[in-house]
Amino acid sequence: MITGKAWQFGDDINTDLILPAPFMYLPKEQQAKHVFEANRPGWVDLVKSGDVIVGGRNFGTGSSRPAPLALNALGIGCLIADSINPLFFRNCVSFGLAALECPGVSAAFDEGDVAEITLSAASVRNLRTGQTLTGVPIPEALLKLMQGGGIFPLLESEGLIGPGIDSAGA
């Protein structure tokens, strides 16, 4: 179960907002400092580890850049949205960012409410109102990948890749 404070972001949040282009190739710790810089400057200083992003429709539309990695590095506990762009959701699985599509969730939360999320049951509860919503179930294999930290730990355990070579970030 994931419990965290909710931050509201609205509809059609694109990847250029989540991770602006000038920073997308930086190491993830540096990416994290620029998340939502254009639409919500200063937010990265307010958000706490474990907090939850609440999106409206089509969250994450846009490029395949490692935006979920930046949200991970920022310590986001979970992303819940009325709908998540399928490419973005795929990257949430691949980078191991907890994410759940849950129609109606943006209307069910005020900013600052606390969300309690059970990914395996695809359920979201608002602890202030007591309302529980049911989201779109995540296929078991994908949930396992998402909760296991994504593709890199898996490939590493199979000896197919080594750890990151962060020379360029030095």
Binding site: A21, Y25, I151
Partner: protein
């Protein structure tokens, strides 16, 4: 029950006799395309093993040639990878370089009926070649590289039947803006193009539409295969392939007819692609500082041709920077030979080497605070091409070229006849 093109290709690639919407399939990957963005530290890893090195393509495009030390180091990481695994299809800075999606078509790396994995979101461009491709992510590409497989969810398909013919000066980009404006979001659907008017569109023109499928949030965008595709491919490769067309009784989530003759030049207003298209005349009072033609969608020879036709014998307006970035060095050479580059430069355009460049705000034409840009590229998102306070309008190369001449958003009909000769 019949199958759509994507249902057939995913069935073939997953070793099944059929697939239906809702199925999760693990498929063999025929081609893995890496670009310079993959070699940055955020998601590159020390690769110990490559499933099939002959299936790998490496292209430098997003930041090429390297604009700074950071990118230069990533390029070096990529070259070391190419060397280590003996990758033959490597498109480094030089004769064979270009934007990955353009190279993939130009060199016929994407074959009909095959599965291509590239982490870039506009990989669906290869759908114009009847090839199953879509944007994935950096980790997906490394998975496909090392294991030779990937996974997809089979989605329902929306079918577009094309009829009629585009008027002269109206381009597939306008057709896209029409679809994006009328039908908006296609999330969780494949998009399939076909119909009698397909034959009026070249492979490059189809690629513009297939590339822009990403901006409809479509899963796979795929085109029917026809004789024009065969001719295109046979000029480029002798590798065998099998084409896939839909069954007559394929089941679609929706089937829509598009009359190409009724399409007119459109513009997407800033910050959002879908549900945001207006007629050019509606924004004719918007003044611009930059006009850009380029990208995997609009850096084709035909894009440069129509731009050259619009600006021929005229000069770019004072105070406007008109940037043209061919999609590949091969397109650049062809445009040079055809005289388009000379015409564009005589008008005052700055023609750059092939790269993503201004499309992505990385280099070669980044826009400043409060500036206004009109672009024939893929996205108009806030901050994409530079400062977040800038406004980006998106249109066809003809409209962008016309706007460069006047310094405001301008209908191409002000400079060229929109009647198709003959």
């Amino acid at each position: 029950m019949g199958m759509t093109i994507m249902e057939k290709i995913l069935a073939r690639a997953s070793g099944r006799s059929r697939t239906s919407p809702g199925d999760m399939v693990v498929v063999d990957v025929d081609t893995v395309v890496l670009y310079d963005g993959n070699f940055f530290p955020a998601y590159w890893r020390d690769i110990k093993s490559v499933a099939k090195p002959d299936n790998v393509v490496v292209v430098y495009d997003h930041r090429a040639p390297a604009p700074d030390q950071y990118c230069a180091r990533a390029h070096s990481v990529g070259r070391a990878f190419v060397e280590k695994f003996g990758i033959k299809r490597f498109h480094d800075i030089g004769y064979d370089q270009g934007i990955a999606h353009v190279i993939v078509a130009e060199r016929a790396y994407a074959l009909p009926g095959t599965v291509l994995v590239c982490s870039d979101s506009h990989a669906g461009s290869a759908g114009a070649l009847n090839c199953a491709a879509r944007g994935t992510g950096g980790p997906d590409v490394i998975y496909a590289l090392t294991k030779g497989s990937t996974w997809y969810r089979v989605c329902e398909t929306i079918r577009y039947d094309l009829v009629g013919r585009l008027r002269h000066g109206v381009t597939p980009k306008d057709l896209f803006l029409h679809i994006a404006g009328i039908y908006g979001n296609h999330s969780n659907y494949n998009v399939e193009f076909g119909g009698p008017a397909l034959a009026s569109l070249s492979i490059d023109e189809r690629r513009t539409l297939a590339t822009m499928g990403t901006e409809l949030n479509a899963e796979f965008t795929i085109f029917e295969a026809d004789g024009i595709l065969d001719t295109y491919l046979r000029a480029r490769t002798d590798r065998p392939y099998q084409t896939y067309n839909p069954d007559p009784n394929a089941v679609y989530a929706d089937r829509r007819q598009l009359d190409l003759g009724a399409i007119e030049p459109l513009v997407a207003l800033p910050d959002r692609v879908i549900d945001n298209s207006v007629k050019v005349g509606d924004v004719a009072d918007v003044f611009i500082q930059q006009a850009f033609i380029g990208s995997c969608a609009n850096g084709n020879l035909y894009d440069l041709q129509i731009a050259a036709e619009v600006v021929a014998g005229r000069r770019v307006a004072a105070g406007v920077r008109f940037l043209v970035t061919p999609g590949s060095q091969e397109v650049y050479r062809q445009a040079l030979k055809a005289g388009y580059i000379e015409t564009l430069m005589a008008a005052g355009a700055v023609v750059t080497n092939a790269t993503c460049g201004a499309c992505q705000g990385g280099h070669m034409g980044v826009i400043g605070p409060n500036e206004v840009c009109i672009t024939a590229s893929t996205r108009n998102f806030k901050g994409r091409m530079g400062d977040p306070s800038a406004s980006v309008y998106m249109a066809s190369p003809a409209t962008v070229a016309a706007s460069a001449l006047t310094g405001r958003v301008t209908h191409p009909g002000e400079f060229i006849s929109m009647e198709r000769a003959g």
